[in-house]
Amino acid sequence: MSENLVLPLSTASARPATSAWQRLAFVLAGVALAVLPLFLLESFHLFQLTMAVIMALAVLGLNIVSGYNGQISLGHGAFFAVGAYVTAILMSHLDWSFWATLAPSAAICGLVGYGVGFPALRLGGLYLALTTFSLAVAVPQILKHKAIEDWTGGVQGLFITKPEPPTWLPLAITADQWMYLVTVGIAAACFLLAWNLIRGRIGRALMATRDHPTAAEAMGMDTATLKTRAFATSAMITGIAGSLSAVAVEFVAPDSFTFGVSITLFVGMVVGGVASILGSLFGGLFVLFVPNIAEAISKAAPGVIYGIILIAFLFILPDGFAGLLRRIAAKLRGR
């Protein structure tokens, strides 16, 4: 028993130790990096960056279930949509404040994710990918359904307003700047929680279930519970990202959540780095900014250029941005 506990600790200490002040420096640098755009960028770029952080958060959700737990999901756009709609419905029909909608949105997405997690137990690999994909295809049509049209606004969608900056802030800031701060704050909290989760016992269990389910089960892990809960957590995080996107864009409609969103998230995960927390952040930046670059190169066929850039990235960085960082770090250490 005690040996089991010691083992991971000893492997962790085998790495070069980072001292407390180094860690503090990293955190401070991260905070500075996150706050800096607030003063340097004008509102449009800030909005783009806000959207990129939101996409990064959604990719993080996907990474937990697909990257760390090995359950391929091509349907995370559905959770993104559910999160966005819960927030939009609560804000526009019941006049809730944005903050109040976060918890119900996360809870509902978690429940839906938990529900999807059950068939996932029986369906492995490609079959699961297809099942989740069908979810992504179905959601925009369900949103238009007559029975819930009064709530979802049907094809017309729903309008909401982004939260106004609170008056107690020392500096007067615009709604866009506040939205950015809110997004970065919530995303940072989610990234930190996810990092904690992955670093610990549960994270190791998730990866063990992915890498060798039989061995994991023999070690006494309840793989069924792990898998369904991984789905729930993952859906919850992606749902929160959906909530943020609803207020950042100030509009939700079924056309905003076609199955393309799910594919975008998947691309973000692979480009950023499968099973990497930091990689999710790069993935978010990639899926938001690269299509714009592609369009700047060719208006006639932006899709082709995007595809070429994507292939080039996968060729040069086969294990994503995160892999590149890992290689650089390893080189620095080896020196």
Partner: protein, 402 residues
């Protein structure tokens, strides 16, 4: 410490710079030598076929610049891809307005895409002109005074059919089949506009979902209602099914069909061309494939433009005459501005188009706007299916003034 001080300094400096910047921006998007116009189009994604409209505009403004521009200024037309996704439209629109600082937005495409930005445009008081969508709500100048559509709305189209129906059969009973969404419901509103209190007595309306596999049961219940006129307001797949089903059950109503679903290839051929003989629809643009316009001055002007500026464009694609028509309308607005391209001035001229003839519109159809009329085109001509082609007949019919 130094870093923090620099941060503070930049934070303080930013608001100090902003006001002077704003003063220089009294005429956003307009300099002594150019006027910037913004646009979003689905160059990628499910609706990328409409990208030809954006290509046409780009070529059109190149032609305008070759001819000396407008008001002594060159036109800088900036168009971005939104992939037909509303969040992307919001992003691209903000890029156009806040970063590229365009004077106004011209002809962005898509009902959902425009819905996503209409509030932003009106809050910022940026003209949002001549949208590529047939929804009726762009004509509500009371709520969205900076937004205006161009083509006849679905509601106007429905009014025109009902007007024609009342002429032909004053005591008709109308069966209305509509798709249960924005598009279909505009037709219900249009029918109600004309019939008013008589609506409930005259009309039997049945809807279907865009996701339904067939509309067979709807057609049967409409036939059972004893109606002798049918108005079909649905998308191509269902229109083909309706035409086929109506013929198969031996129902012979006077049949009106929305002009969204009149493609020969995707509707009339699958339905069986002989089943559709006598179906009536409507048009406002000259059909580029119609031999009647072979020597038409307006269409010759358009063909000359295509030959010089878009030599690889498909001359059978109806998007090109549409794009040429809407861009010509914009040019008239800019000419009427007489060099005053302030946003208020542009909107004044947008609402001041008087009996404008547009080369690609059917003869006699005139573009008219007023401060209380944001429906630029409200006239259409009816067309009838002969079994091989759509043939225009009768004079122009005008929608109701509401």
């Amino acid at each position: 410490m130094l870093n923090r001080r620099m941060l503070l300094a930049s934070a303080l400096a930013a608001p100090a710079i902003a006001p002077s910047g704003a003063r220089a921006q009294d005429l956003p998007g307009v300099t002594a030598s150019e006027i910037r116009i913004g646009n979003t189009m689905p160059y990628s994604g499910p609706a990328s076929a409409y990208g030809s409209i954006g290509r046409s505009h780009t070529a059109f403004f190149r032609m305008v610049n070759d001819q000396g521009g407008v008001g002594g200024r060159r036109i800088n037309f900036i168009t971005y891809d939104d992939g037909y996704s509303p969040p992307k439209t919001v992003e691209q629109t903000r890029r156009l307005v806040e970063q590229d600082k365009v004077a106004f937005l011209f002809n962005p495409l898509g009902t959902a895409s425009n819905s996503a930005i209409v509030r932003y445009m009106n809050q910022r008081r940026v003209p949002h002109l001549f949208l590529s969508t047939g929804a009726d709500k762009w004509g509500t100048w009371q709520d969205t005074p900076w937004t205006i559509g161009w083509q006849p709305s679905y509601r106007t189209e429905a009014q025109i059919y009902v007007k024609h129906m009342l002429e032909q059969k004053p005591n008709a009973k109308l069966a209305l089949l509509y798709q249960n969404d924005d598009f279909g419901k505009d037709y219900v509103t249009g029918v109600r506009d004309i019939l008013g209190p008589r609506f409930d007595g005259v009309v039997r309306a049945i809807s279907h979902e865009a996701t339904d596999p067939t509309i067979d049961s709807q057609v049967v219940s409409l036939q059972g209602s004893g109606a002798d006129v049918l108005l079909t307001a649905t998308t191509p797949k269902f229109a083909a099914q309706t035409i086929r089903r109506v013929a198969d059950v031996g129902w012979k109503p006077l049949h009106y069909l929305t002009n969204v679903s009149i493609s020969v290839g995707t509707v009339m051929e699958p339905a069986g061309p002989e089943r559709g003989i006598g179906i009536i629809t409507s048009a406002y643009l000259k059909d580029p494939t119609d031999p009647a316009w072979a020597n038409d001055a307006g269409m010759n002007e358009w063909r000359a433009f295509m030959a010089k500026y878009l030599p690889d464009g498909d001359l059978k694609d109806g998007s090109f005459p549409f794009a040429y028509g809407v861009a010509s309308t914009l040019m008239q607005v800019l000419k009427q501005c007489e060099g005053n391209f302030a946003r208020e001035s542009i909107m004044r001229q947008v609402a001041g188009l008087k009996a404008l003839e547009v080369p690609t519109l059917l003869p006699g159809i005139l573009v008219n706007t007023a401060p209380d009329n944001f429906h630029p085109i409200r006239q259409m001509q009816l067309r009838r299916w002969t079994g091989t082609t759509w043939e225009g007949f009768g004079g122009l019919i005008e929608g109701a003034k509401i």
